[in-house]
């Protein structure tokens, strides 16, 4: 398997702890574009600042018309859906909420799946609703890889559970094992 081009992460209730564990465990050599959609924050620049001290990679709020950058974590702004254009530029929308959420994980996953197709890893973490499940299914249909946090160990199990029910997963792991898996998948050398 060739290394993916991007990793898209969706999380909701309990996300601060979960993101700290994952971003702290990522290998700083990663060249993938990281996208995060997190429901819980109304202050995304504050969230970025909170996560920055734990993250091995630079972390920024995604901006309209801006290019998605490899080796950087981009967080969806509060109150806007985050989408990607085919040329890897970000686009925002204030369309209706999806599953009571804006930003919605489904919207971000759908859009990322359209752009990166099979070169994408989708990750669903802790959360108390079912956002992300449909989007994860689309990622799998396009040939991408699905990773879901084990519901039993999640602070809020509903979201990973819904993802498993609707999309299934290629990997279902406890929080602590997700970053090491992503490192393995992303740094793997293609076989020749």
């Amino acid at each position: 398997m060739r290394p993916p081009e991007a990793i898209a992460i969706g999380c909701s209730q309990g996300s601060l702890h979960a993101l700290r564990v994952i971003l702290g465990g990522l290998d700083r050599r990663l060249t993938q574009t990281l996208l995060i959609c997190c429901h819980t924050s109304t202050d995304v620049s504050g969230l970025c600042a909170l996560l920055a001290s734990h993250s091995t990679l630079p972390i920024v709020e995604a901006r309209e018309r801006q290019q998605a950058i490899g080796g950087t974590v981009h967080v969806a702004p509060a109150g806007y859906h985050l989408l990607l254009e085919n040329d890897r530029h970000f686009a925002l929308s204030v369309d209706d909420q999806v599953r009571y959420s804006r930003p919605s994980i489904d919207v971000m996953f759908d859009s990322a799946a359209d752009v990166y197709t099979c070169d994408l890893i989708g990750v669903v973490l802790t959360g108390a609703n079912s956002d992300g499940a449909e989007g994860l299914a689309r990622i799998r249909r396009r040939g991408g890889v699905a990773v879901v946090q084990t519901p039993e160990g999640a602070e809020a199990p509903a979201m990973p559970r819904a993802a498993l029910e609707q999309a299934g997963a290629d990997y279902c792991l406890p929080l602590e094992e997700i970053a090491p898996l992503l490192n393995r998948l992303c740094l793997a050398q293609p076989l020749r």
């Binding site: 085919n86 929308s93 369309d95 209706d96």
Partner: protein, 289 residues
Amino acid sequence: MSTPLPDIELERIEVDLFVSALKRRYGFDFSQYAPASLTRRVRQLMHVHHCDSISALTARLLHKADFVTQVIEGLSVPVSEMFRDPLMFRALREQVLPLLASYPRINVWQAGCAYGQEVYSLAILLEEAGLYERSHIFATDFNPAALKRAHEGIYPAKDAQLWSRNYIEAGGSQSLSSYYSARYDFIRLHERLRKNITFTNHNLVTDKVFCEAHLVLCRNVLIYFSNPLQDRTLALFRDSLVRGGYLCLGLRESLDFAPAAADFTAVDASQRLYRRKLQAPSGEHDASA
């Protein structure tokens, strides 16, 4: 025989054909909309109208002339609140209205007014500043159904609580409820707020300068446009504004990348509040002088 095309490539062709049909058959031009959101809305239309494919949606659009109204409504998805982003409205109240007060007549253009929540918010701001009597608000949209709703000024009562909080945060001096009457599950904005508002059709993609404005608001519209269309629209706003007039964009929109940026200065960059320069940028011919 050619190889099968991946779904995603097929869908791109279908969306292109849909956009082309809409333009050639009905004159609505979405070809310069940013593709990601447009594709999402077209998919939604397909599901809502129980079509098996985007091509089936296109066929229906071509052959059933009355279907276009629903398609346009589905493609414009007007979502807003009264006093959305209250700090922006506070900035208008505190930094812009006192300066507009020096004009004998004040023209305000809200481009892309959708269901009108922000138009009525503006009317309230102007009234509280004692300026409404000499102001005129031109509220435009390309979606006739949205304009009709905006003109009615009727909204679900369940939204009023959030809007009241926004209003107070925006520096409101009354209670928002003094501007509407509530009946059953709806609120209706008072007729007097509508007195100096003209609701009218204008399409930012195809139409030209609309009026001579002292303040232009266009919030969360540009995010749906491609870069060239954003640039064109911002130039249109510049040309509509008097020198020293104000421009207000959505909180995640920016003037920075557009050529028209040279003609504006930031009044409050965090609230996306800009002012057209009093002088033309050096070396440029001033057509309005």
